[in-house]
């Protein structure tokens, strides 16, 4: 189980890296081809589609590595015990939010199936919306791990080296 999750994490970061390189390439190619008079109009749409994936999957990676920005000055002053419980409350609220995020994300992905990318005929907008429930699911796993970590004070995550 743990092994499988590690593979998923690795796959996730690999995917975002590839997407990022594609975004740079697509935007670069869009400008160059337009400059020489043969514009490729779908490349920018493709880039913003990948941008959504980078944002939400990247959010999960940042969360897993404790790189999400937060305000600490108040809870830093609290004793360890209270601090731990407040963090637990936070993660439970986040968990509920993420579950709604997944549920309504699936609903929206279903309704956007007719909506096309203006610039890419035949390419459904669902390819963008589906990034939310998928990344949401990964974030739920991350959150549950954080909750377990706080409950049992033990590890069980895969981090970037």
């Amino acid at each position: 189980m743990k092994k499988l999750y590690e593979y998923i994490c690795k796959g996730e970061t690999f995917l975002i890296k590839v997407f990022l390189v594609f975004i740079v390439g697509l935007v670069f190619v869009a400008a160059v081809t337009r400059y020489i008079g043969y514009p490729i109009n779908w490349s920018v749409d493709m880039a913003v589609c990948l941008f959504a994936w980078c944002t939400f999957l990247g959010g999960d990676v940042a969360m897993r590595n404790n790189k999400l920005m937060n305000v600490e000055f108040l809870i830093k002053k609290l004793p360890e015990k209270y601090r731990n419980s407040i963090e637990l409350i936070n993660f439970f609220i986040i968990l509920i939010f993420l579950l709604a995020f997944i549920g309504y994300g699936i609903k929206l992905s279903y309704t956007t199936r007719f909506r096309q990318f203006q610039g890419i005929p035949g390419f459904s907008y669902t390819w963008v919306t589906i990034s939310v429930p998928i990344a949401g699911t990964l974030m739920v796993i991350t959150t549950i791990n954080k909750i377990r970590e706080r409950l049992a004070k033990r590890g069980g995550e895969c981090r970037l080296q």
Binding site: G37, Y38, D45, Q118
Partner: protein, 310 residues
């Protein structure tokens, strides 16, 4: 639940144009007329500059049954029923009278029913016309050949792209707000817009020539949720539709009237209106857009219903 003294029904109507465009005043006129006739029972709040959000997002909210509305075009409705895109094609209709009659054509009626029953869009009116699209460039253009190799900014939908390509130019998809700097820095060579867009965007500062091709009479759709619409009292439904058509035709007429004044003003500011434009050649070239998108049959059918000769 509405508080005492408030409107029973509220429609939040969104459009992407600036509040200084004639459409905004037109929508407000519509809102006022509806509020008066329903004695305050149905209130319309108009949001300019896409304050409520992105057009496509609003369309999804409409499908979900929200009390929102959107001014949109046939290119976007064409995503749901491909044939509708013809209304955005080159030289599809060329007079306001034609637009008025369009709504009564059997094929169009069928589309409207399908939009409402299958996709949840209630089209209140498509009597709103932004005017005639022309080419605005920095080189004089008289025929499709003159457009060859010119990068013309065009909205990203396929029907727009293919129409502009058929007319000879190279379409470039750019957001509306990026046009001015793109022209200034020669990222693009020209735009195709209606006269009324030019003063607001100050495009005369970066463009020299107008070619009055009138290649598209820009018909807009006023869309709300079918679910929300059906829940209104029948009396309100009737008022909402009637007043929308009325305000639309009135606004369209005054826009087309005002084009003369806008044109005169642009000439005064140094723009040159190109003479001896080969409209027949443009008209012929435009046919290709329908063929490429495989909607030529649909166009011919609706044209036949309208009594246009081929």
């Amino acid at each position: 639940t509405p508080a005492f003294g408030q409107a029973k029904y509220t429609l939040k109507f969104n459009h992407v144009l600036s509040p200084r465009e004639p459409y905004h005043a037109g929508f407000q006129k519509w809102a006022k007329a509806v509020e008066e006739r329903t004695k305050g029972g149905l209130k319309i709040e108009v949001f300019a500059s896409a304050q409520l959000g992105v057009e496509e997002d609003i369309l999804e909210q409409i499908r979900a049954g929200a009390n929102v509305g959107q001014n949109t075009d046939s290119a976007r409705m064409g995503m749901y029923i491909p044939g509708i895109a013809i209304m955005n094609g080159p030289y599809f209709v060329e007079t306001l009278g034609g637009v008025e009659r369009l709504k009564k054509m059997p094929t169009v009626q069928g589309w409207l029913d399908e939009l409402a029953n299958k996709f949840g869009f209630k089209v209140l009116s498509f009597g709103w016309v932004q005017g005639y699209r022309h080419f605005f460039t920095n080189k004089p253009v008289r025929s499709p050949d003159d457009l060859k190799g010119q990068r013309i900014r065009t909205p990203p939908a396929p029907i727009w792209q293919e129409s502009v390509r058929a007319l000879g130019a190279t379409p470039v998809a750019l957001a509306f707000g990026e046009m001015y700097p793109a022209l200034q820095q020669k990222v693009i060579d020209g735009v195709e817009l209606v006269y009324n867009n030019i003063p607001g965007g100050r495009f005369y500062e970066v463009l020299k020539y107008v070619t009055e091709t009138g290649h598209i009479m820009l018909v807009n759709f006023e869309v709300i949720s079918a679910k929300w619409f059906n829940a209104l009292p029948p009396e309100y439904q009737k008022i909402l539709v009637e007043e929308c058509d009325k305000a639309g035709l009135e606004t369209s007429r005054s826009i087309i009237e005002s084009e003369k004044a806008v044109k005169a003003d642009l000439i005064k500011r140094g723009m040159v209106v190109v003479d001896k434009v080969d409209i027949a050649a443009f008209r012929k070239a435009g046919e290709k857009a329908y063929e490429v998108l495989k909607i030529a049959d649909v166009k011919d059918k609706v044209h036949k219903e309208l009594g246009f000769k081929k």
